[in-house]
Symmetry: C2
Subunit: 331 residues, 2 copies
């Protein structure tokens, strides 16, 4: 059977099924945003890897080399943020076709290092190799986390409120605008930059971890609907989203309305948001206020709740309950 | 300018020149076999990444998927061994064309996990993505090292003896035999397996670190000549190799003689050895005996000496001094 017939999630499950039970010092293994390993007593490191492949994750017609370098690190820092970790180091593995311009490689490194510096992350090493016709940018990032303050996906319980940081849909709309050849303008700049140079919510993740304000967390790299489903599934819950509360990016909303597309449907499934989605018990809202006092940007918006009915994912819209779809698979 | 015009080493130098000075907790940054980061007081982690690209590092006609998975981890464990580190975890990032057989992915994972288990390494996570037409297997490995016992490339001094572990040339000869369609036999099995499933010298690296028997170390992934040059260059020395002492693999020697190729020349530049090359002051030979008592396989052979004349690399052969060439660049 081909991987394209099986699908990404089922391939991942097949791989997981072949692994031995991890030893005790692997605190979190495969299945969360990142892995957590206890390397010494009371010292836990968090590690994650994510690749950007030309023609799959980026197109050089739509992003500059510096954008690509920035994003390759951002998607990894986002995974660390979703664990409540403090990022420390990164490794860059580049596969480059022979004809790649040296200036483009330098610009890619500059884009990555710019974001690294802004987050006090050191690029400590990597690997260079040739490839046939696609650039592959594989970044690994590592950090540290307080032993008792790791944010996991599976900690949610029925009744927990679901929050997302920032806005949703901007990156998905931005890619559509770029493909449509829209010129940059103040109205769409936010969408362009969310697609090309996403932020990673590192400060927010650290504040959530430090205050223990969230019972579960993951990042919305494949869109809000996907993150809500995965967090709920890992927590053995269902989820209900209130469509009226979705913080849909203004530029994205205008774009979709102009295209005759429903902004709610589209923003829920749009990927590349890299916001944090968290589950918070109602009585912990005081702790959450501590977080928003520390980190005012991005804001947090309550968009739904975890429910008792496992595997039931609902979006409530004008009083109607609809099935929540969404999620992205490479195959 | 294209990367293929510039060359790998110069591209790496251009990249390094763009990085800021690393912070104090980055004990070893870019330029050694792996990076060392102090994540807590007296706790240092060692991290490295290395990719195998289809058509560049492997050909599915010459290696099974399990071989590829094994080797993808081995090349990373070899880098950790060359730092004196104890490997702990690995991440696997796979880029797979749509038509890749699921069974091949499973076999690749099995090959990797087999070697991981043998070295008490846990596969803690990774990433799956699609690619156009090449499989890319990118592995990151991490471990721990005693703060004062890291093995670096640049610690050598003139007069230090140069040792290599194991034999040289078997992997390079093995690839030639496989390409020539030679059937497996007891005489060439060692060459086949050294190419397809190299060992990583993890126990030896740990023993060298624990006894402080080596002043400098690196692995010979690009051949003995390359390792000797790089270690000598990093240490500000020259190097002299004694051709009569080279532990050329028996099967490789017979193969090259049968092909009319000089075994000394060829084994010095042949890549994929993944042995450890170390510099040891003559008066530390007692410590080295402690190492060989702990780790009898692979054996260590003295093949040369570091000299005072920086950038002069010599191989002495039947009394003649020849220039030592060798080293591999992707472009």
């Amino acid at each position: 059977m081909k991987v394209s017939d099986l699908g990404e999630r089922r391939l991942l499950e097949r791989i997981r099924a072949r692994l031995p039970k991890p030893p005790g010092h692997v605190v979190v293994g495969i299945g969360d945003d990142a892995a957590v390993v206890e390397v010494a007593r009371n010292t836990r490191v968090v590690v994650t890897t994510d690749a950007l492949v030309e023609g799959v994750h980026f197109d050089r017609a739509f992003s500059t080399p510096a954008d690509i370098g920035h994003k390759a690190l951002a998607v990894n820092l986002s995974d660390l943020a979703a664990m409540g970790a403090t990022p420390v180091w990164a490794l860059l593995s580049l596969a480059l076709p022979d004809g790649t311009a040296v200036e483009d490689v330098e610009a890619l490194v500059d884009g990555l290092v710019g974001l690294a510096n802004a987050n006090s992350v050191a690029l400590v090493g990597g690997n260079l190799t040739s490839s046939h016709n696609q650039i592959v940018v594989d970044v690994t990032a590592g950090g540290t986390v307080h032993p008792r303050r790791v944010l996991l996906r599976d900690g949610g319980r029925a009744g927990d409120l679901l929050f997302t940081s920032g806005t949703i849909g901007a990156a998905a709309a931005g890619l559509e605008m770029i493909k449509a050849g829209l010129p940059p303008s103040p109205a769409n700049e936010q969408c362009f930059s969310k697609y090309r140079r996403p932020d990673a919510r590192v400060r927010l993740g650290r504040a959530l971890s430090a205050t223990r304000a969230a019972r579960a967390a993951m990042d919305s790299s494949d869109g809000l609907a996907d993150a809500v489903r995965q967090l709920a599934e890992a927590s053995g819950c269902g989820a209900e989203i209130d469509a009226s509360q979705l913080p849909i990016d203004d530029g994205a909303r205008r774009w979709w309305v102009s295209q005759g597309v429903d902004p709610v449907d589209r923003s829920l499934v749009g990927g590349d948001d890299y916001e944090l989605v968290i589950a918070v018990p109602p009585k912990w809202r005081g702790r959450l206020r501590q977080v928003t006092r520390r980190v005012s940007d991005p804001s947090l918006r309550c968009v739904g709740v975890l429910t008792r009915t496992a595997n039931e994912y609902v979006v409530v819209r004008d009083g109607r309950r609809e099935r929540l779809t969404g999620g992205f698979e490479h195959w």
